[in-house]
């Protein structure tokens, strides 16, 4: 057993880099299988030297595989460990390797989707977008840098974790850690989402005037009594700061009334309506077009 083949750190870095292209040949038949085989090639090249062994290794990694692209990394790590043992003579057959892959991809996808797609992406995206709306280049830079640091670090460390733990990792996965991560991400996501809804879903009924009340004198700035020129402008600003209204008539819009209940109520109602429609299996595309049509109609009618 003197000539055991071990995967070096450099091999593992190559696999890590290639795993970036995991979804490149995503297809309806076996999904990520091509990218999976592609990712493992540096390891397989090192471990197997004869043509027959290589063909067999590639064939067993062209089987169906699909998970969240980032959490594939720990599975790649474990698979490398298993392949390494196998090439050194351990009795690990195709069924074991395929079993580990399939056994891990389901539960891990269940973690990757809520953590990355439903929590991290909306939060980082909203933060970056709010900067970008002001025309700041920091928006795109922040998104790109933060997202890729998180992703690359996550993929490298979990791949190493999987490689070092080997098949023992399947025991850990059955424990509560994954559930805790999933639940924690759901809590964070569910806490942040309403804030995003309130701040970024724009439903504005301002054109609808609920009431127009003539105000008592002294409650508004009497423009006729202001001194002329710059002095008048100054006096007007002082009066406005003191809380005087700009107009003789106080206009209350439907939007003002809604905001007094709680800001963002209309946005929340729209969101709940969308959730209900989605649950009724209405296609999101239809809902999107519906909302555009609704916006145009309401605008033409002068409601929004």
């Amino acid at each position: 057993m003197a000539d055991q083949i071990k995967l070096t750190k450099s091999d593992r870095i190559h696999v890590w880099w290639r795993s970036t292209f995991l979804q490149g040949s995503w297809n309806y038949e076996r999904m990520q299988n091509g990218g999976w085989a592609y990712s493992l090639i540096p390891a397989l090249k090192k471990l197997y030297t004869t043509k027959e062994d290589r063909a067999a290794a590639l064939k067993r990694h062209m089987e169906f595989f699909n998970t969240h692209p980032y959490v594939a990394s720990p599975i790649i790590g474990v698979t490398m460990a298993l392949e390494e043992e196998r090439s050194n003579g351990a009795p690990i057959d195709d069924v074991t390797i395929q079993g580990v892959k399939v056994g891990m991809m389901g539960p891990l996808a269940g973690v990757g989707d809520p953590v990355f797609w439903f929590t991290a992406k909306p939060i980082i995206g909203a933060l970056a977008a709010s900067l970008a709306l002001g025309g700041s280049i920091m928006g795109p830079i922040l998104y790109f840098v933060v997202w890729n640091i998180i992703r690359m670090a996550f993929m490298w460390y979990t791949q190493e974790l999987g490689y070092k733990a080997g098949s023992a990792i399947t025991d850990d996965l059955s424990g509560g850690i994954l559930q805790d991560i999933t639940k924690g991400a759901s809590i964070l996501g569910m806490f942040i989402l309403p804030a995003l809804i309130e701040r970024w879903v724009n439903v504005d009924f301002s054109p609808v005037k609920v009431s127009t009340i003539k105000q008592a004198s002294g409650a508004y700035i009497d423009w006729n009594k202001l001194p002329a020129g710059a002095k008048g402008v100054k006096e007007a600003l002082v009066q406005q700061k003191a809380g005087l209204s700009l107009d003789k008539y106080k206009v209350t819009t439907l939007q003002d009334n809604l905001n007094q209940l709680i800001p963002g109520l209309a946005a929340l109602i729209i969101t709940f309506l969308c959730m209900w429609l989605l649950k009724k299996k209405v296609s999101p595309i239809i809902i999107i077009f519906g909302l555009f049509a609704f916006g145009v109609i309401m605008h033409v009618l002068g409601v929004m």
């Binding site: 979804q23 490149g24 040949s25 297809n27 309806y28 038949e29 076996r30 091509g34 085989a37 090639i41 397989l44 063909a55 590639l58 062209m62 699909n66 692209p69 809520p114 439903f118 909306p122 939060i123 995206g125 933060l127 970056a128 977008a129 970008a132 002001g134 025309g135 928006g139 795109p140 998104y143 790109f144 805790d180 924690g184 809590i187 964070l188 569910m190 942040i192 309403p194 804030a195 995003l196 309130e198 879903v201 724009n202 504005d204 709680i262 963002g264 946005a267 969101t271 709940f272 969308c274 989605l278 649950k279 595309i285 809902i287 999107i288 909302l291 555009f292 916006g295 605008h299 033409v300």
Partner: protein, 269 residues
């Protein structure tokens, strides 16, 4: 605005990158906030493109490819609408019509995505044959071809828009009446909700709904930035996870007593 040859090549290159990322989902060049900024960078129209990217990012926040499901195509929407914004030459004022154009494009992109993923099935069959030969080089090559095909999925439409040129694009934008563009931008403000609704439907359980209520109420305080809210959210998640393990009475019995954990947190202070 007319672009010179170098700018056009760079635009198509950015489109290619975005198309690749649309399937890879790794570097996120296809996310509107990044993709539009890159188009802005290579065409010299940075600020309007960044604003467009921010607006589209808000709409696309909840769009993600879960499992085999395909989301509306953020890549095509971002790239094509940014190019149209640049060619239209209206600067910031053109952002709302660009958004209105982006969404139908996202849907059209969906069809291209499905087509590309079906073509990829043919490619993996070729890869199967390469595997039988034990040829690493061929697998590498076909993986690259598959990725390049995904890049072309966006690069070709981008090149087509450039080929149409600034004149017709401007004419089309000017032909849109203001009631339509204004109405569409009002609609765009609401469309954001669809993405959030998709995400909430995926995550919501009875156990986590109280956190939704807390988030909504706290968001009314405009001094709390997103980062501050994130801090509160992380802290609450940690506290909740710890407390739910300490609780002696129930073994994780969520569902029925959803109000309690929040009460527990308050008691802790």
């Amino acid at each position: 605005m007319n672009l010179n040859a170098i700018q056009m090549i760079l635009v198509v290159l950015v489109a290619f990158l975005a198309g690749m990322e649309g399937i890879l989902d790794e570097f996120h060049f296809h996310q509107p906030v990044v993709a539009c900024a890159l188009i802005g960078l290579v065409t010299g129209q940075l600020v309007p493109c960044i604003i467009l990217g921010g607006s589209l990012q808000m709409i696309a926040l909840g769009w993600s490819n879960v499992g085999a499901a395909v989301a509306p195509d953020a890549a095509l929407a971002a790239i094509a609408s940014a190019i149209i914004l640049v060619l239209g030459g209206q600067g910031r004022a053109g952002v709302s019509s660009a958004i209105a154009i982006a969404v139908p494009l996202a849907v059209a992109g969906l069809l291209l995505t499905i087509l590309a993923r079906t073509l990829a099935t043919l490619i993996v069959h070729i890869m199967d044959r390469a595997a039988e030969e034990g040829s690493f080089a061929k697998i590498d090559m076909w993986q690259m071809i598959a990725i390049a095909m995904q890049g072309l999925r966006i690069a070709i439409p981008a090149a087509l828009i450039l080929a149409v040129g600034a004149g017709p694009v401007k004419a089309m934008l000017n032909a849109m009446p203001t009631w339509l563009t204004d109405g569409l931008s009002i609609g765009g403000g609401m469309v954001v909700a669809v993405g959030y609704a998709m995400v909430i439907n995926m995550m919501a359980t009875r156990e986590v709904w109280p956190f939704f209520v807390l988030g909504f109420v706290l968001a009314a305080i405009s001094e709390l930035t997103l980062i501050a809210l994130g801090g509160i959210g992380v802290a609450m998640a940690l506290i909740y996870l710890n407390l739910s393990k300490m609780g002696g009475s129930g073994n994780g019995g969520g569902g029925s007593n959803t109000g309690d954990p929040v009460g527990d947190i308050i008691d802790k202070y």
